[in-house]
């Protein structure tokens, strides 16, 4: 994928299991400014369903999802 957004902060969530990836991301996003982008690197297979659901409920946007080997990075833009 060529259109990978630029991330302001990158979080290593590899190896963490449910519900930790969404919990950590929600804690991190609270500390960020509106408009900033968080790159969350995960290996939890549940994250593919969980991050979109989390983003929809909290009103944030997933700009891109990038999978390399078994690591999936979610680029999340803070909208509010």
């Amino acid at each position: 994928m060529s259109d990978i957004p630029r991330a302001d902060i990158t979080m290593d969530l590899k190896g963490l299991a449910c519900p930790m990836p969404v919990v950590k991301v929600s804690q991190q996003i609270k500390k960020m400014q509106v408009g900033q982008v968080l790159a969350a690197e995960t290996t939890d297979p549940g994250a593919h369903a969980d991050f979109p659901a989390w983003a929809k409920s909290t009103g944030n946007e997933i700009l891109a999802v990038d999978t390399q080997d078994n690591v999936t990075t979610f680029y999340i833009k803070k909208l509010k």
């Binding site: 299991a17 449910c18 991301v25 804690q27 989390w54």
Partner: protein, 179 residues
């Protein structure tokens, strides 16, 4: 009825139909089994991450999971001592509802959880407290089983409450669960 009256009546009707429930999850935690307690805390912390206000009401067999193993309470009667001895002393001591197998099953699950990087129940309780999940403890369960406040884990906003408090919280919650 003229048109203004009709509009007013309609508006009143709509106001009474409007959903007053908040973005909130209220949960009765009744079970003292490790598996069910884990499920309760995964849902609670997940909900907090989703931006929900979360309330957990600990009652009956779930109550001893909130005991602090490093604390002792004095002045218990014989029944209190018996419950204190028979029931698990804190989250580390609770066991599986199935496949406990005299401790082997529970130990196996715990080692698997560690291997797969799944948070332990104690970690989940600490995380819930950090995420400002409200944890209420049923006053009657405490009294019935002879537990004293000084032997329970401590956290900001700890309250011993009755059923009315839970129902008040559940009444304006979008989601209610019993585990």
């Amino acid at each position: 009825m003229d048109i203004n009256q009709a509009v007013q009546a309609l508006q009143n009707e709509m106001a009474s139909m409007r959903d007053e429930r908040k973005n909130k999850l209220s949960m009765v935690v009744f079970s003292g089994d490790l598996d069910k307690l884990l499920a309760a805390f995964i849902i609670a912390t997940g909900a907090a991450a989703m931006g929900l206000e979360v309330v957990m009401f600990f009652t009956f067999w779930a109550t001893p999971a909130l005991r602090d193993p490093s604390k002792k309470a004095k002045g218990k009667n014989i029944f209190g001592k018996m419950f204190g001895f028979m029931l698990p002393k804190g989250a580390r001591k609770v066991t599986l509802s199935k496949m406990h197998m005299a401790g082997m099953g529970t130990a196996m699950l715990k080692s698997l959880m560690k291997k797969k990087n799944v948070a332990s129940l104690e970690e989940m309780i600490r995380l819930a407290i950090e995420l400002e999940v409200k944890i209420y403890i049923c006053e009657m369960s405490m009294d019935l089983m002879g537990f004293k406040p000084e032997e329970m884990i401590d956290y900001p906003g700890r309250q011993f409450v009755g059923v009315a408090k839970f129902l008040e919280e559940a009444g304006d919650s979008k989601i209610q669960l019993f585990i």
